[in-house]
Every structure is written in structure tokens, then in C-alpha cells.
Symmetry: D2
């Protein structure tokens, strides 16, 4: 019966619309043998943890969780007391797409900062570094950035380092929402270690789902941001999986033959190809740097609705006729060509 329900078309609505990479599914199948201890006390978790340490260094604590909101909430709760504040871009996922979970569960205060490209800079952050030691003021405790950011832009290691240095000078921490960390690393042409550990990041929400997994992210605490509280935080945040072997098996698969990198590279390349094609069309303008797998683009107003009848994607800014397209690990040139062809017809 399920067969009849399945869709076959690939679109540009979100990388969450894509399915699971076959290698990840295969790893789940292979892991599905006999009884295995639950809640992380299994060899798959052990191996997946070792793999992540191989990439990010030994001085980390890794905990697998279900989804990005869970990873972000657990990370922030580990870094920030309830009387602390988290400085983030106004457009950050934690600010606009988590239904207040950081405030409600971690109990923290978010301090949103307006940006032009979804990215924080030391200059943007500095005006908010006030009120230290003043009991009336939520204490600035964390700078949180998304890498890649929600506009399809990405931070370089140097840009992160500048934010990490600023945070550390003030006794604060740098958190990276890495739902698309693979896309960011590929975009910057650097290793995970270079864009996380070496850049001074204190906590990472390591994304897997958008990059070809079924469901799975990891909370990674680095260096002296590590805390024995993390297991309790994860459990209390409802993010501890019972049949944990399957979370870990997915991560193991993602690192076999650098699958994470191949998936992200494809998505990034397809985004670049899409952006180039779109930009060549009359009345179409790509509005942000395409540094990951998202393309923000202004379309002729008249083209948007008809195009959305054939393709599912979000209107980003109604007033500006700006929409967002997202490519995935499984996007192929034919998908892009089809979208652009449809668009070209509507523009004529």
C-alpha cells in the first residue's frame, strides 16, 4: 500500500524533502541484527563517536540526538545558564523556526541581531556585549551562528575564529548550528576540523538529516565547554533515542568514503549551477552569495505563483518577490534544468 503513496519527483523546497541516501539505509539494515543494548551503550555508538573524534579531535563529547531543534536546545542548555543570553542573527533557526523551544526548554534569552546576509560579525555582536555583572540583565553567554546560514551563505574558519575570540574574551561561548555544517565545510574547501575545532567553536549541532540521513544529529561539545551535565541535558530534553544503534549506524555510514562530503558537494554544486542558470534569466536576480545549497532569488512577481504550482518552494520575502530554492544530496542537473526551463517559460 505504501508504494502508491510514494513520490518520485525531486524538488527545491527543502533539503528535508529529500529521502535517505541508500548507503545510510543499508547501514540501518546491517545494524538490525539481534539484540543490542539501548541508549548509547552499544558498539555502533562507540564507533560513530570514535569517527567523529577522528575528524574533530579527541577532546570532544559527542551525543547523538533526533533532530536539529533537539541538538540546538541541548547545546544551548549545556553552554548557557537560564539567566544567560544567546546572541544570534534575527533570521537564525533558533530564533524563527523552533517555536520558542530554546527559551522554553533551555530557559535562555535570545538576543536577535539584524543582518544583511544571515551572518553575524564581531561588529554586529559588540553592541550587545553589555550588562556583564549587572543582575538585571540576562548575562551574554553564547554567540550562536548557523553555518551554513539560513541565507545560503557560509562562514569561513577565519570569520568563525574572530567570533570565537570575541566570545572567549568575554567569557562567552561560540555555538554553531551545523544543520548544514557539511555544506559549509565543502563550500570553504576545508576539513571539519578546520571549520569547527580549529576555528574555536565550543559547541556544534552536527547535522545529518538534511544531508542524506533518515533522522539524526549530534551535539558536540569541544574542549573546556565539555560538561558532565550533557547526558542529563539530552535526556531531559527528550532527545535520547532508545534504539540508539540506528542513530549511530547512520553516522557511521555518512563517514564511510566521506559520504557526508560527497552529499554536500553535490548539493552545493547543484545550487551553484541553479544560481548561475537563474541569474542568466531576464528579471531574475540572485540576492545572496551561494555558498552552500540554498539560492535566494528575486523573480518577476508574476512568475512566482505559477512556478509554485509546479514546484514546491518557500516565498522568502513577499514584498521583494524573493524566494528560496534548496538543493539536496540527490539533486541532479536534469532537476535544475527542468526548474529553469519552467521559469524561463513563465518569464517570457
Amino acid at each position: 500500500m505504501i508504494d502508491e503513496l510514494s513520490a518520485t519527483r525531486r524538488g527545491f523546497g527543502s533539503d528535508n524533502h529529500s529521502g535517505v541516501h541508500p548507503d545510510v539505509l543499508q547501514a540501518i539494515l546491517v545494524a538490525n541484527d539481534g539484540h543490542v543494548p539501548a541508549y548509547g551503550d552499544d558498539v555502533f555508538t562507540e564507533q560513530a563517536t570514535a569517527i567523529l573524534k577522528g575528524h574533530l579531535g579527541d577532546d570532544i563529547d559527542v551525543r547523538f540526538v533526533f533532530n536539529g531543534t533537539g541538538a540546538n536546545v541541548s547545546s544551548l542548555a549545556a553552554l548557557c545558564p537560564s539567566w544567560g543570553s544567546v546572541i544570534c542573527a534575527e533570521t537564525a533557526h533558533i530564533n524563527v523556526d523552533e517555536c520558542g523551544a530554546p527559551e522554553h526548554i533551555a530557559g535562555v534569552k535570545l538576543v536577535p541581531v539584524a543582518t544583511s546576509d544571515g551572518k553575524l560579525t564581531p561588529e554586529l555582536v559588540k553592541p550587545h556585549l553589555t550588562g556583564f555583572g549587572f543582575e538585571h540583565h540576562a548575562q551574554p553567554s553564547v554567540i550562536s551562528v548557523s553555518n551554513a546560514a539560513e541565507f545560503g551563505t557560509a562562514y569561513s574558519p577565519a570569520e568563525l575564529r574572530a567570533l570565537a575570540d570575541l566570545a572567549h574574551e568575554h567569557g562567552m561561548r561560540l555555538h554553531v548550528d551545523g544543520a548544514r555544517i557539511a555544506n559549509a565545510a565543502v563550500s570553504q574547501g576545508v576539513s571539519l576540523r578546520e571549520i569547527v575545532t580549529d576555528a574555536g567553536v565550543d559547541a556544534l549541532s552536527f547535522g545529518g538529516t538534511k544531508n542524506g540521513m533518515l533522522a539524526g544529529e549530534a551535539v558536540v561539545l569541544l574542549g573546556d565547554a565539555r560538561t558532565e551535565a550533557l547526558p542529563y541535558i539530552r535526556k531531559q530534553s527528550t532527545q535520547l533515542a532508545s534504539k540508539s544503534r540506528f542513530m549511530a549506524a547512520q553516522f557511521i555510514a555518512m563517514f564511510e568514503g566521506d559520504l557526508w562530503e560527497r552529499c554536500a558537494r553535490n548539493a552545493n554544486e547543484m545550487a551553484a549551477y541553479l544560481a548561475a542558470g537563474a541569474d542568466a534569466l531576464p528579471g531574475v536576480e540572485v540576492t545572496q552569495k551561494v555558498q552552500a545549497n540554498e539560492v535566494l532569488v528575486v523573480l518577476p512577481q508574476k512568475a512566482i505563483a505559477p512556478l509554485q504550482e509546479r514546484w514546491r518552494f518557500h516565498t522568502w520575502d513577499q514584498a521583494a518577490s524573493e524566494v528560496r530554492w534548496v538543493t539536496s544530496w540527490d539533486t541532479v542537473r536534469e532537476d535544475v534544468d527542468a526548474l529553469l526551463a519552467d521559469l524561463a517559460k513563465l518569464i517570457d
Copy 2:
């Protein structure tokens, strides 16, 4: 590489130690075709919801979540204001195995009640029905039971109805932690509708993971306990899956040919078989009714540690030499026989 990590042995440590039923995995594979909208806006979710309505009635709201703690927290938040209290057995999962998540996330107060068998009765609950309208006192708002309970006992529809009536007389709600609701229904020889809807239950945490799924539970609100707040509660509790089709596909598979019932029936039968075999051994005593897939049993003290070297299971009550064995959807008679043979040898 994963192959070498896999275990093959089946044990009695927990139903969470078991893997995924092949039909469930197959459904995941079939669902993995093309792009599909995320976050529940997909045909799989639509179908799985329809199936559950077929079983529980149309007047329900169903939301799929990742795990049992998430289902319980979301259910309680939907039923109980922050100034409300939840009356539960002292041994309830929400009280002892969720690291304070109900208190922390739903913000509610738990009122634990001592029981002999893990089950609440109206007589046990009534002394706690006090302080209504008294602003100093957290307002009794929910009676929460686990069915099956953590001792392997189960509530009949009549027992639930008595608790539901008591709750409703006081303007309260009845919540069922149904991590093992399938085992309870099979145990009582009734349909899901009889043991949930018809018994007056207001909210159900519908369990899937322990009964053969990879990861997946559902929050079900019934009748006038339904609330438009549920989607926000789920999202804010970090329990909204992005690639939601895979959550739903698992549930669809669980209801194909009543797989849920077959899995639970096997687990229950194996528990009965295990209990009978154990009870026949000298110095071994089954201490609770075996109405689901858990066997609580007192062993000779000297046998416990050696047996745990070969079989992973929890000591339930150190002082009483009481341990807990759990059977699963995949337990076979040979597994039980092997455990009992090892135990018999240790008792000699």
C-alpha cells in the same frame, strides 16, 4: 565495517534491545522515493493518521513523535497547565525514567503514589484529590497510568474506566503512557478502541519503538481533550521530525496485517512461557502478574551475578533479589529455554 559490530544474540534486558521488524524496515525503504514534503505535510502521515482513526475513532488528534519521553511530555503539556499536578504511580516511567523532563519541559508537578503492582486504583488516587481551588496547591489535573505498567501488569478497560470516571468527576484528565499499549491490548484480549477510546482515556502516548519500530511514537488526544495547541507543543518539545514520512511509514507498516498485534502477542506469550518455566525452578518466584512482556522474578541471590555475566538484565530490587526480564517481538522459545537452562544450572 558495520557488519563486524552487529550482535546476533537475543536477550531479556529490554524490548528496546530488540531491532526493527523487517516489515517496518521495508516500509521505510519503500517510502524512500523522491522528494516529499516535510514536517507531516505528506501522504504517509495522512495515511497513518487515517489508520489510527480507524482504530481509535475519528474524534482524535494524532501527532507522531520520536520517543516515549517526548510523547509523554507533549501529552502532559497538552492536558495540564504549569500549575497543575499529575498523579502517577511512584514507579511510573514519567516519575523515575525521564530525568525530570515532565517537570522541566511541561513545568508540571508530579504526585507519586506508592503501589504494590505499579497500578493506580481509585482508592489510591482519591487521597490526593485535594486542594482544588486552593491557590497554594498545584491543581490536580491529570491521572497518568502506564498500560502496560512497568511491573508487567496491565489495566483492563474497566479499571481504566474507573480511573477515567474519577478523573472526569473532578474536571481532570486520564493519560495513558502506552509505550506498551499493544501488549496491554493483547493481554486484555481487547481492541485498541476498547482499551483506549471506550475506556475514557483522554490522551495516549502510543508506543511503537518497543514493539518493533526503529523509532516512533504518537501523541493521541481524544474527544474534548483535543487542543489546537498540540502542534506547537510538539514542536516546542523538540519532537517534530523533519523527514516525517519515515515516522509515518513505520506506523503504516505496524498496522498492515495487524503487525502491532502479532508483535505484542509474541512478546506476551514468550513472557508467559518464561514466567512459567522460571516459577517451576526451586528458589525462583515470579512476583507480579505477567500480563504483558515483563517478568519480575526473585532469584537466589547467588545466581544473579553469574547469570548477568551471560545475559544482560536489570536488577529491580537489590534487597529482594528481584530482577526484571523483558521479552520482545522477536523473542523465540529457544531464547527462553537457553535463559532458563543457564539459570537452572546456577541454582543447582
Copy 3:
């Protein structure tokens, strides 16, 4: 011993630096006779409630609390679910001066909006009225304004009505942080009913402490914003006073002979007198409308530190050489003259 500790000078640091009006102290003394039921079940509370109903209308619920943060947290918890958001000025007390209490206790999300004068307008609010019904987004539930605002500006009844209408059109509520509601009413030349009830306000944090009381505020819910949950919310927010008669007695005194109005009028007049005097000095510029008891003023940079050696007041904007002076119910012309004289000397 206490005598030696007492200060005698009146300054411009904050209206919280002022003491208690003698009539309020007298009321406390008079109330201090014999035993009286606690927690609001007393004739003083009854009378104070009746007085407030006389001013604001019968369709209100009044609960006395200790302080402004408590009043705001209780008000917001009564108006807004945990998955709701509260739109407020970036400079609102709830956003910058309550150490994250609204987020932590009410569990809500704040959406800060940049303003030029501390006041929200429908135009400023509208861009944030998005995401209704979208489960990822905290649901816009409350517009919260401070009247008088933190810049010394005040909302007219018409301005409030416009915000109330906007809120109600979207199923939202209008909350007023009225720590200085008396100053606002006097400033606008209207009654409390006109600036609260008739303006469409749904909830008011009614301020007493800054206007001559020892400690005491009230949460007022109006019309269909009333909820039976309020007593529990107040108690759970730690804001229920045991010896409640003394909270109520202060309020009774504040309404004897319109003491609230006389106190606020004096503070407002002294602020106007101060602003006029300051503005006449060379290099000094009053930067905001003086509509209550606060004066924001740019001083010659060189004058600030020496003046702060003699007078305690806050630097509002370091970069702009802007400081804040606050007048009180007990400020007299001689105090203002002394401040201005000191300032004039420093400017020369």
C-alpha cells in the same frame, strides 16, 4: 543605629531611590492592628480591589504582587501560552531589565522591535505579525508596551487603542507595563479608565512602588482576558504576599484623595521643569519628549563624570553622551535647581 545609615539627599537616579509617601506609611501603621487573614482573604484587599474597580471598571480581576518584574511575568503568563511570543520595544523593561524572567518563568519568547522613542506603533509591529498557524514559529500572542515608556515618553489613549485594535484583529492581547502608569495618565490628562480600560488594554501591570509606595504592584486583567488561572499563576510566580493586608493598605492610601495623581503630577512637573532648565544650558540637549518623569539629555562629555560624582544617575548612551534623570513624587524645585547649578558650573 539605623538613624546613622539614613540618607537625606534627593537625587535623580531613579524613582526607586525615593522613599515611601508618609500617607502610605501611615496606612501601613493603621493596618497593623491585630490578626488578619493572610494571602488576600482580608478586608484591606477587598477594599483595595473595590477601589481599583471603581477606577477601571467592574469587569477586571486584580491581584496584588510585590514588584514590577513579578507583575509583568504574571501578566504575560496569563495572556500568552509558552509557545506564544510577545512583541515589545527593544528597550522594554521586560526585554532588558528582568534578567530573562519572562522567558524563564512564563516560558514565552520575546520579539524585540527597534524604536526611536521607546514606543511601539502599529507600523512597527505589523512586520512581526507573521507565522500564524505555522507550528515552527512562536505564535504572536501579545503586544506589550510600557506606559510611560523607558524613554520618558507616553502613549495617548488613541495610540494604545490603535495597538489594541491591531492586537485584537489578530487574536492577540495588549499588555501595558504600567510601572509608571500614573505618570502616563497625568501626562495625557486622562483618567486611569481612559488610558487603560477604554483604550482596549487587556492586561496592566499597575505600578505603585515608583510612585511612593514601599513595595507593591498589581496585576489587572480586563474583560475577556480575565482567567481563573491568575491566582495560581501569581502564586507559582512567587508573588503572593502572606501579610497581604499591607500590600492592599498601601494601595488604599494611594487612592485616598487621589494621592497617586498628586505624586505623579509632582514628578512629571519636576521633570518638565528640569528639562526646560537643562535645555537652556549651552551644549545640553533634551533628546526625547518629556511626557512623564524621565529626562533623557545629551550633556557635554566632560561634564558627565564630575556631575556623577555629586549626583547618582545612569549613563543612557555612552557614545552619545546621553544620560537619564528621573524625578520622583518627592522631588522639589530646590533639588532641580541644585542639579542644574552644578551642571552649569561644569559646562562653563
Copy 4:
């Protein structure tokens, strides 16, 4: 107008029904002179803090708060992470009289323990010292006792020391809800230092209101339980008073000439006198040790309602015909004699 509202009768309903000691009111009057910095930055706070250090030792942190629930919530938040649990008597104020504030604001889990006299012992606590390091289980972090307890019983320094030692052996803390700490000290014939600091207490909610103050308690953290987080916790818990001088002035008065001790001694002596008188009546039985200012007593059922028509007091246990009488700093022998005379008449 207030005059007509005043009551003159003294009763036995609660020590919260009593008023303010004249010396405390006088201190408030004296402190009401001129402008003084707010929020604790004043000489009264400085002096009151110094006085408490004189009594409890220099290695403490003192923060004044409004009420007992606020003191308890702030104390627990300072001692216990959100994933921690607080072991307390089932009858503890934090468990039954704070409307879930500890769970909601501090986010902690309470573990209530049944007792016969409202007092915990190491034997009662030990069974709950389980699950350390087990992420599913809220981590036992605090033992919380009320001294004097809600039954009118009191802990000796030795009893507290035993609990403190038990707590410290397990890396936990001992919290004392000292709403009636003065009554406990007087009852045990020891100094505050002996019954707090020297007994190994880590945190104390120091009560003032019940013992003759208008409103005021203090959070005291001792030794290595001190934390820089306390000011933020207090502020975030809505418990920071703006006109803080008046909180401090009350405490200063309470320590002038050992007023705290005189008030508590009177209340305790009147309770003993009342208990002795009651116990001598036929059919009347004092049910708990009278070690502070509360008397639990079984009355003939027929006498309760008529007596409550003349005297306001709580029925403690309906089924057992048990009621609670509380004496205050201002109770005199004539009050007790009047109550007993009325009772005697009803028993005849």
C-alpha cells in the same frame, strides 16, 4: 477609612495572621529618609548583611527576598541543576504549598518522602539515594528540610548534621526552609550559628515575615555552596526588591536586642502553654511534639466547627479530627486562655 477595616483580635490561624512588630515598623520609618540607591546597593543592606554574617559566619552570601516561596525557589535553583532532584518530606511547604513553583521555576524534580512527624531522617532519605550517574534518573542533588517543620517539630543541630553528612557523602547539599528558623533555634536552645552553619547546612531560607516582619526573607548560601549565580537567580525569580532599604531595615530591627529571639521565644512559649492546656481537656490530644509555635491536636469532632466559628484555624486531618493552631510573636496568655475556655465549653 482604613481604621474601620482593622481587626483587633489575635487568633491561632497562622503566624502570617499577625502583624508587624512595632520595632520593625519603626525601623522602616527611620529608613524612610531621603533618596537611597535601590536594588541592594544601600547602607541598610550592607549593615543587615554584616549582621547576618556576625551570626552565621563570614563565609556566606546573603540576598534579601520578598517571601518564603521566593527564598525557597532561589535557594533550590542555586543548589540544584534542572536535571537534579530535591528530596523532601511529603508535607514540606515546597511540596504542598508553593503551587509547583520549585518545579516550574527552578525546573527541579521533588521526591517526596512520607514521614510521621514532618521530619526527614537519614534512614528515610537513604532509599532515595539511587540512580547516581544514570542519565534516565533525575540526579539526587539536595535534601531539603523545614526547620521548624510543618508539624511544629524541630530538628536539633545533631539531626541536621546527620543529614548534612549524608548529603555531602553523596555530593549533595542540605537546604533548610527556615520560615521558622528562629522558632527552631529557640526551641533547641542554640544559636543561629549552631543550628545552621555548624550543623553543615548549605543553604537557608531565612524567615522573617512569620516572626514579626512586614515582608522579608533572606536566601543564605554557606561555604562552598556559594555561587556567583545567586544575584541573577534572585532577579530572574522576580525576588529582587527595588526599594531594598526597607527589606534590610526590617532585618536590622529583628537583630536589635535579639528581637528575633524574643519574638520566637514568645511564640514557642505560648504554643507550649496552649498545648499543655489543651492536653488537659477531656477528649483532646496533642499529636506531635510541640517544639516550635505550632500545635497539632485532635479535638472531639463535634467541637471543631463551633470553635472555628469563633476562631480561624485550619483542619489538618479531617478524618482524624486533627487541627492546627499556630501562635505568634504577639500571642498573649489571655488569647490562649480564651481559646481554651471556648474549647472547654464546647466539650462539656
